[in-house]
């Protein structure tokens, strides 16, 4: 009984030093805010880049044999080449290196580390999202495409009204996974001095010399976030699917 009481007192003391003293809990809140902010804008940017890159890549693959030589074909080939380089570079280098390059060199002129992180993680995520969406576009039956074109829709309209909505629905689980990876991936933001959730916990560790409690708290918050978003996406998925049953 005595040991139990002692442990409990010890726990209270540690908890106090980690979170209450000097309002240290604010590190976590502020960090969580940055983590969510970076994830949110990176997600939006990633999806926008991903859709555009996927459309260029899929259009090139679909029309390779059909379009006749000319400026349009050359342009599409050019953009396809650019997209391929983008995919290769982004997927071939670690995100931490990309972040450091962004914060300390390439995007230095922007002056705001959080904004830079949003861009870096967005550009990084875009490469993975592009391949996910491309696989979704390629999975749609060619007949859907022909039906759209035969009604008089042009290529872009057919993509927009008919192909992309179906492709998006098909790849939603993979996209959700990418989103969850992204939440956790932003935890390297501290490398560039950005105070995200992980960095917030780590600062508390540095101040209190307590490693376990602040980091467990950080882990728990990530876990709650991921579980919550997984549940949310599952709901969205069921809602989209219901139309096809």
């Amino acid at each position: 009984m005595g040991a139990m009481t002692e442990w409990w007192l010890d726990f209270q003391d540690t908890f106090y030093r980690c979170f209450i003293e000097d309002d240290r809990w604010k590190y976590l809140v502020r960090g969580l805010g940055n983590t969510l902010l970076i994830t949110f804008f990176a997600l939006i940017l990633g999806v926008v880049i991903g859709v555009v890159v996927a459309m260029v890549r899929a259009s090139y693959d679909k029309n390779k044999d059909e379009t006749r030589p000319g400026f349009g074909r050359w342009l599409l080939g050019f953009f396809n080449g650019l997209c391929k380089i983008y995919l290769t570079v982004i997927r071939g280098t670690p995100v931490v290196v990309q972040l450091l390059l962004g914060v300390f060199a390439i995007l230095l002129f922007l002056g705001n580390d959080v904004v830079i992180a949003c861009i870096v993680f967005g550009v990084n995520s875009g490469a993975y999202v592009a391949e996910i969406i491309r696989s979704g576009i390629m999975s749609i039956d060619e007949g859907q495409f022909e039906a759209g074109r035969s009604l008089g829709f042009n290529y872009i309209q057919t993509m927009r009204y008919i192909i992309i909505p179906q492709a998006f629905k098909n790849v939603l689980p993979a996209l959700a996974n990418e989103f969850i990876v992204l939440i956790k991936e932003t935890s390297v933001a501290g490398y560039a001095g950005i105070i995200d959730l992980t960095k917030g916990g780590d600062i508390i560790r540095g101040r209190t010399f307590e490693a376990f409690m602040p980091l467990i708290a950080v882990a728990a918050i990530y876990l709650v976030l991921v579980v919550f978003f997984t549940w949310l996406v599952g709901k969205l998925e069921r809602r989209l699917r219901s139309s096809e049953r």
């Binding site: 007949g143 022909e146 035969s150 009604l151 008089g152 829709f153 009204y161 139309s243 096809e244």
Partner: protein, 247 residues
């Protein structure tokens, strides 16, 4: 007379796989307004390719297609405008699974013809009523039978008020008991004077509804005649042997 010609095809060739496969080898034909032209032939004869070339779903390797006096094989022509006037019905229906029946039918008229939702929906409902599917307007394609899907596919194309309807084996993917309901809709359409080009294996339909039947084999038109003449007095040996097998 030539005013009457809606589609004129001349010297149409389509080669696949870099010229190794010659699906069409110089096909020339005319489709006149109000005509129901039925294209028959063994599989691999090029009849589907011929039909798909008419609205440039397949780009011809050589030859020209004139629709309403415009050469649509000319790269400078905006094919999308012409496709609005050429309805197409596919073997596998190709309804949009993520939209309701009504949305399937109103999408193109609203986005391409600039119709208001009310106008597009009232037109769609009138057509649905005609094919006896008005009660399924809010359903999704997956909730329909094959025959119902194909009837929807037909009226979806009709929503664009096309000048010609192209049918690519519209009953080939259907259970036998559903073939009749689809042919019935097509028959009605023909009686209303719609210009139709129909690739099919339904010889009964060809004989009964067709104003002209084209028999294709090996990528060329082998024989072309009124249905009665063609079926009862086939001239070429190939048509004779084909008919002996299918009739």
């Amino acid at each position: 007379m030539s005013d009457n010609v809606l589609i004129r095809v001349s010297g149409l060739c389509k080669h696949f796989a870099g010229g190794d496969v010659k699906a069409l080898n110089g096909v020339s034909a005319e489709i006149r307004k109000g005509e129901v032209v039925v294209v028959i032939g063994p599989s691999g004869s090029g009849k589907s390719t011929f039909l798909r070339c008419l609205n440039l779903l397949e780009r011809p390797t050589a030859g020209t297609i004139t629709f309403n006096g415009a050469d649509i094989t000319d790269p400078k022509v905006d094919i999308n405008i012409h496709r609005q006037k050429m309805g197409m019905v596919f073997q596998h229906f190709n309804l949009f699974p993520h939209m309701t029946i009504l949305e399937n039918m109103t999408l193109a008229p609203m986005k391409l013809l600039g119709k208001t939702r009310e106008a597009a929906e009232s037109k769609a409902m009138a057509l649905l009523d005609r094919v006896g599917l008005a009660d399924r307007a809010k359903a999704y394609p997956s909730q329909l039978s094959g025959g119902q899907k194909q009837r929807i596919a037909i009226v979806r194309a009709l929503c664009m008020e096309p000048e010609v309807m192209l049918f690519d084996e519209p009953t080939s993917a259907l259970d036998p008991e559903m073939v009749g309901e689809v042919l019935e809709v097509m028959k009605d359409l023909a009686h209303e004077g719609m210009t139709m080009v129909v690739v099919t294996h339904e010889m009964g339909f060809a004989r009964e509804v067709g104003s002209r039947v084209i028999f294709m084999d090996g990528g060329v038109i082998v024989e072309e005649n009124e249905p009665q003449q063609l079926f009862e007095h086939p001239q070429s040996e190939r048509l004779q042997s084909f008919l002996a097998k299918v009739l």
